[in-house]
Structure formats: structure tokens, C-alpha cells
Amino acid sequence: MFSYTIWIVLIPLFVFLLIGFWGHKFKPVVSGIVGSAGLFTAWILSIFTAYIYFFDVGKVDDVYQQIIGYNVLWLRFTDTLQIDLGVLIDPISVMMLIVVTTVSLMAHIYSTGYLKGEKGFQRYYACLSLFTFSMLGLVVATNIFQMYIFWELVGVSSYLLIGFYYERPSAVAASKKAFIVTRFADLGFLIGILLLSYYTGTFDFLTLTSPTGPAIGTPPAATFIGMSVLTWAMILIFMGGAGKSAMFPLHIWLPDAMEGPTPVSALIHAATMVVAGVFLVARLFPIYITVPIALQLVAWVGAFSSLFAAIIACTQHDIKRVLAYSTMSQIGYMMCALGVSGMGGHEGLGYMASMFHLFTHAFFKALLFLCAGAIIHAVHSNYMYDMGGLRKNLPITHITFLIACLAIAGIPPFAGFFSKDEILVAAYHHDTALFIIEYVVAGLTAFYMFRLYFGIFWGKKQDYQHTPHEAPKSMTIPLIFLALGAMFAGFVPFSKLVTSDRQLFEIHTEWIIAIPSIVIAIVGIGVAWVMYIKPTDIPQKVAHSLHGFYRAAYHKFYVDELYLFITKKIIFNHISKPVAWFDRHIVDGSMNGISFVTNQASDKIKGFQSGQLQQYAMVFVSGAVILALIFIYLWT
């Protein structure tokens, strides 16, 4: 039935190979067209899959089925240890297919305009296709090992794309940083996978998450330092998710990753790859629900990250960095929603809300980034203080950016309102402290987004070197499309599509929470209005009155410096250096010693090889004589 879905994954792979090997033989624009056309096909297939899954064959007795659309035995070690590759069709993977292919298609189309004339255009499209392939493979993974493989592949393609401008040292440093930080987190992920699979004996998601399976039905009894081994496994797996999703304290790579081209930031570092961590937790949610400690950790890490990032976002001047911190904050929301969720029916509201927010966030955050790209394209600067009064010059960008800001701020009827409201409801019913944090973050979100909006499109007009002009059609069409998504994605009835136990339930807007959340969003917008609609000295005054705190937030709470201190001062000096000394002097030393002894010995005995024929003959004859004597006198 769903066996064709493998093509959704394979088409981008073929496009990658095609462009990667032969792209440079044709004009750059050919690569763009091939990439976009391939992805368009995948997009159509995904829409088709979603349609027949949700409205036709997916539902049996009002429960969405988990269907293995395609499966192939990839590696076979023993009868019990074997790794499959395949396509798992269930509500969250179908939803992710839609999100990934839509945003990726928009990024592809947008890039034809944004990167026009850049060196390495074909390379860019090859990497973009590789990324799309990896991400699609990740979301349809049937087993945790396949997920891990594609998890690393998205890391690699993210590395390649952040380092697209490889002549710039900052881009090189950023790509390395992103790779190393996520790789460090993936170490935890791998250990978690191994623990989980060792104690349950399977990689398969369906077996792992089945209520009677080896993880949930008969959980392993082993414990380690007072916590069950399952808890440890889930915490370590969450570590991988936190690294990919830029959760505190593994978030340091995300702001730097903005060195990549803006469509890459929109696709990878806003809409798809960074939500892989949320997707991972959602995929293993039935197990998380049985280990409350791990779930609690997910909730608090998410909530803390969202607050932490929102505060930093209020102080940054680089518009892409503001958006990066905003992404981190919104992903914190999703994590928090998963953490406060229960299982089944209305209890599973948080799960549904998290997926809902992931869906809507993909639209408006990709839109924000693409708008930022259009603005940077027009102004040739990333910094807010180089911008102002652009609303006449960039009318389409202005309107779409405003829509995205309203969506992320949670103003009805835009998409963000509905999903954020569900998250707040779920948090409210679970834990008041988390609710208060998320509520404050909602206000901060509205404030920093409108700070950006007013600062860019209103405020004082700058002296631009040449008049900024609206982006070409290839860039504005994706903006308009995504703006429609940001306006209407909120009306998708998620409680009837994507739920924790795959059964349907009714939701109703709780106005007791919705109205305060709208009020705080409007307050945030109002404060931004007062401070940034016209050039005033209020921001300086506020910054001055919050002197120390503002400086700390401006410097991202010195987390980067702390990491540098730990790695350079402590790890390098006290661990790496002794290890290097041991390696050089003990390991290498013993090897060098052996070779030195051999060398000296051979130097000493090489005199035997004198080249004197008669000397050799003498030795030979003496030997023969001695042998003869032995034979004669000693042979018995």
C-alpha cells in the first residue's frame, strides 16, 4: 500500500548524486531546477501519502495504524541482531514528511533567487538534497538504529551547509562547532541506544513502543546509581535530542550556525533538523511516559531553554541570531509540552500540542528566516542598527514578516496562537511553575519579535548605499506560500490527526488561559511599539537600569566563555596535555626504542657483509669443515 513512500526518501538521494557528480558540467541554474523539481515530486508524494493516510486507509476503528510501508534487511549479524532500513508510516512521520518536504521545497525555490551568481551553487544544491534525503530518512525510520544513521547524516549535511562560505574563517569555525557539539551529544545518544537495545533486545520502534513490548510491558529490572537502566537510557537518548535541538546547555552551536546561507538557516536550523530532538522524544514517548524522571528532565530542560533563549533574544542585534534564539526558545516550548504530557486521550494534550507547535512553528519560523534573507539581500547587513523604515521598499517582505511575527507572538487567528495555547493549557494542568515560565516566555517572544519588526520596518530610515529593492519573484513566492501556512496552519484539527495514543479526542479552547496569553502577547507588542516604533532613548535607559543583567544577556550569559574555559583551561591543560605527553613519551617512546635498538644492532653487524668474496668463501669453507668434523667424530 505504502511501498511507494520509499521514493519520497530516494528521490532527493538521486538528485544529490546527480547534482553532486554532474552538476558542475551544466549551468548553475540547471542544478537549481533539478533540485527543485525532484523535491516538488517528493512533496506531491508526501501530500498524497498524508491524504490517503489520514482520510482513507490510516484509520481502523478510530485508531491510526502504524504501517511499515517498506522494509529491507540491511545488516545481519546474527539471527537476533539485525538492522533494517525502512519506512514507518504513522501520524507523526506523515506530519514530518509534510513539514520537511514543504519547507525544503520553499528553501529550494527561494535559493534559486537568493544564491544567484554565487560560487558553488551546484555544491549548495547537492548538499541541500543530501540534507533533505537524510531528514526524510530520519523521520520515517522504522528502528532506532536507522534513525541514528540518518541523525548523523543530517549532522554532516548541516556541517557542509554551515560551512558553505568556507573562505570565511567564522563560517569554518561555526561549522566545526556545530559538528563537534552535536557529535558530543550524539555520544550520549549512542550509549542510550546501546543500553536500550541491550536490555530490550530490539531496535525496532514498533516493538519498543508497544504496550506489551520488552521496554514497557516487561521493563528491565537492572538499576544503576539508584535509577533504573531504562531511565538512564532515556536520559542519554534525550541528551542526543537536546544536542540536535539546541537545548541548554548544548545550544551554543545554533547561534553560530547562522553563518550559513539564510535558506539553510530556515530549512535546517529553524524548521526541520533542530526539531529532530523533539521528534525523537515524541517517537519514544510511550517509553518516556514510563520513566517519569526522564520526562521531568525533558520538561524542565525545555522550559529553562525557552526562557534562557528568550532573554538573550531580546538583547541581540544580529537579526539572524535573534531568530536563532527564538528558534531555541520555541523548541524549548515543544520539549516542555512533551514533558508535561500524559498518555492517551485528553491526558496526551501536551504531546499533541508539541507536535502541533512543531508543525506551525515550521511555517512561521521558516518564513521569518526567509524574510530575514530577503532583508539581508536588500540591505547587505545582518545588523538591526543598519536597518529601519524598510516597509515602503520591501512591501511583500514587510507583510509576510508581520504575519510571521503575529503568528509566533500568538495572536489569533494566526497559527502560533492555537498551538501555543494548547501548550500553555497542558502546562497549566500539569505544573504551575512550568506554566508561569512558559507564560512569561510568551510575552518575551512577542516583545523580541516586534522589537525586530519595528526596528527593521519602522524606525529611522537609514542612509542606504543604494535603495533597497524588493526581492525577485523566486524569493517572494515562497514567502507568500509560507505566509499562507502561517495564517491557516492553526486551523488544522491536530487532536483528530496526531495524538499520543493515535486515538482521536476533542479539544476546546480554554479561554481562561487563552485570554491572558493574548493579553501578555499584546503587552509585549505594546512595549516593543513604545520602544522601537520611533528612535527613542528608552532602550538605552532600560539597558542601563538593568546594567549587569543586560550585559550578561548580551554576552549570552557567558556560556560560550564557560565552555572555552572548561575545554581550554581544564580539559586541554589537565587531561589532554598529560595524555599527549603519555602518547609521545611512553607509547611513541617504546616504539622508537625498539626501532633504535634494531638500528644500532644492524649497524654493528653490518660489517659481516663486507663484500669481500674470499671472506665469504672462508666462512663457508670453515663451516663445511666443521660440519664434516662433526659428522666424522660426533655422529653416532
Partner: protein
Amino acid sequence: MFEGVPLSWFLILSTIMFFVGVYGFLVRKNLITILMSIELILNSVCINFVAFNKILYPEHMEGMFFTIFIIAVAAAEASVAIAIIINIYRRIASIDVEKMDKMKY
């Protein structure tokens, strides 16, 4: 012709010739002389063959044939050796065996 000459006389003769050859091989410095010493060694072996054949197995001829072979091979060997010696002489203008130590280590 040699009726009544015991085998041991032949063997003593060939042993003396052999060790004279070995001695010459080991101590003479001239390549030609060394070649001649090798001929002495070969001929001592020939004497052994012929003597054993004549006295121990008079009805067989293998010893004779081997001797003929050895003489033929020795002739070929001598021609090759002299060719080599001439080439060496052309290269280093000497046929002193101690000067030919180019192939050490």
C-alpha cells in the same frame, strides 16, 4: 694401465688437488688464479668419479659420463667467468678480488 693401483691413491690425489684448489681460492688475489683454483677443485671431483667408476663398478659408465659433463660445464663456466672478468677489468681497471666490494650492504 692402472691395474693394481688401489682406490685410496686416487682419493689421496684428488683430496690433495681439492685442498690445493680451496687454498688457492681463499688466498690468491688474482681473479684468473681463483678461476684456475676452481678448475682444480672440479678436476679433483672428476678424478673421484672416474676412479670410483673404474674400480667399484667397472661394468657401468655413469662416472665417465659425469666427468664428460663436468668438463663441458667447466668449459662453459670458464668462458662466462672470463667474460665477467673482462667486464670487471674494463670497469675498475683491475682484477684484484679485494677491490670488488661494491655489493656490500
